[in-house]
């Protein structure tokens, strides 16, 4: 009985992998790395994360790749006058010194094309993220629900930002 209670307590204390998902590369700290489950046959997936530069020099996110996708890139999405546009970001995204940059839906994101298999909710999607100065780091994106709007919570979305 006591063991059962302990097990229940342990389950409640278990940390959500998404929020525990934090890695360091050089002076950069990457947190809340996430993506969405993809519909069958969907060839692309967007990825999002928060990057904090604790150093005194600017850096740039210049490239991404995944063994689970043909190619990866850094993109910006915009909605102007109701029209959605998406473009590769030339030269990558600057991460200013002592600043935090968040890649989120509706703006900058990393993008994976030619997925080898659909992304399933709860899985971890392996990625390599490359910075101009800090170099490359192998980590993963936590795969959230197909309608997820942000890194928080695990409900499928339904909340506009």
């Amino acid at each position: 009985m006591r063991f059962a209670l302990l097990a229940v307590a342990a389950a409640f204390l278990a940390v959500d992998p998404a929020s525990a998902n934090s890695v360091k590369v050089g002076t950069l700290e990457l947190t809340d790395l996430w993506t969405r489950a993809t519909p069958p046959n969907a060839p692309t997936a967007g990825g999002y994360l928060t990057i904090t530069n604790t150093g005194d020099v600017p850096d740039r996110l210049v490239a991404v790749s995944s063994p689970q996708a043909g190619t990866g890139g850094v993109h910006e999405m915009r909605v102007d006058d109701g029209v959605m546009t998406m473009r590769p970001v030339d030269g990558g995204i600057e991460i200013p010194p002592n600043a935090t940059v968040t890649l989120a839906p509706g703006g900058f994101h990393i993008m994976f094309i030619d997925l080898k298999a659909p992304l399933r909710e709860g899985d971890d999607f392996p990625v390599t993220i490359t910075f101009e100065k800090a170099g490359s780091i192998e980590t993963f994106l936590h795969v959230k629900a197909i309608g997820a709007k942000d890194a928080g919570g695990d409900q499928g979305g339904g909340h506009a930002q």
């Binding site: 069958p40 999405m77 109701g82 546009t85 993008m111 094309i113 979305g157 506009a160």
Partner: protein, 200 residues
């Protein structure tokens, strides 16, 4: 003297026209209503197929309201999240959702074949009707409803599509009555769908 008077009348008339024109422009801006989707426009004829291969024409839009979203399966953000949001709204509407038809119309028929759309839509509410067809027929429905879609070639990797991100709300005659905009709060989106059902 007579000529001068005529000139004066003409000038005053010109001023009056200008005032009305400026007022109209200001009014449309203030009301926040893009004249493009001011309502009433109909899509005109089209000849497409759904994800099961069944022919669908403009006649399918008659007799019930519709919610129509334009996108493509290569789209990583707006399209899957909008289809997911609509799926949630259909659940909240309950049985009333059956009084609206929900359409996903591809802006990229070259890549979005019948089978590609069928697989893509299997992740969402089964009541979604996916529409594809020839480039010409897709262009007809897009231009009919003034939907913006443009192919953007990339130096490396597959091409992207710019496209209108709003969900179009159509009355029981297939005429545009309003839109649900990208990232519109789910409460107002639900209210718009309920109003669409009640007014039909």
């Amino acid at each position: 003297m007579n000529t001068l008077r005529i000139v004066r009348y003409v000038l005053w008339a010109a001023v009056a026209v200008l005032v009305v024109a400026v007022a109209a422009v200001l009014y449309f801006r203030e009301s926040g209503e893009a004249p493009l989707v001011a309502g009433g426009i109909k899509g005109g004829p089209f000849n497409l197929i759904d994800q099961h291969g069944t022919p669908v024409t403009e006649a399918a839009l008659m007799g019930h309201p519709s919610a129509m979203f334009f996108g493509y399966t290569f789209c990583p953000d707006v399209c899957p999240t909008t289809l997911y949001d609509m799926t949630m709204l259909m659940q909240q509407l309950g049985p009333d959702a059956d009084r609206i038809k929900f359409y996903f119309v591809t802006v990229d028929p070259e890549r979005d074949t019948q089978q590609a759309i069928a697989e893509y839509l299997s992740a969402f509410d089964p009541r979604f009707i996916g529409l594809t067809g020839s480039r010409e027929e897709i262009d007809r429905i897009l231009s009919g409803y003034r939907v913006y879609a443009r192919k953007v070639e990339q130096d490396k990797g597959p091409y992207l599509m710019d496209h209108t991100a709003a969900v179009y709300l159509l009355d029981e005659e297939g005429a545009l009555t309003g839109t649900i905009d990208y990232q519109e709060p789910p409460e107002t989106a639900l209210a718009k769908l309920k109003r669409l059902i009640e007014s039909s």
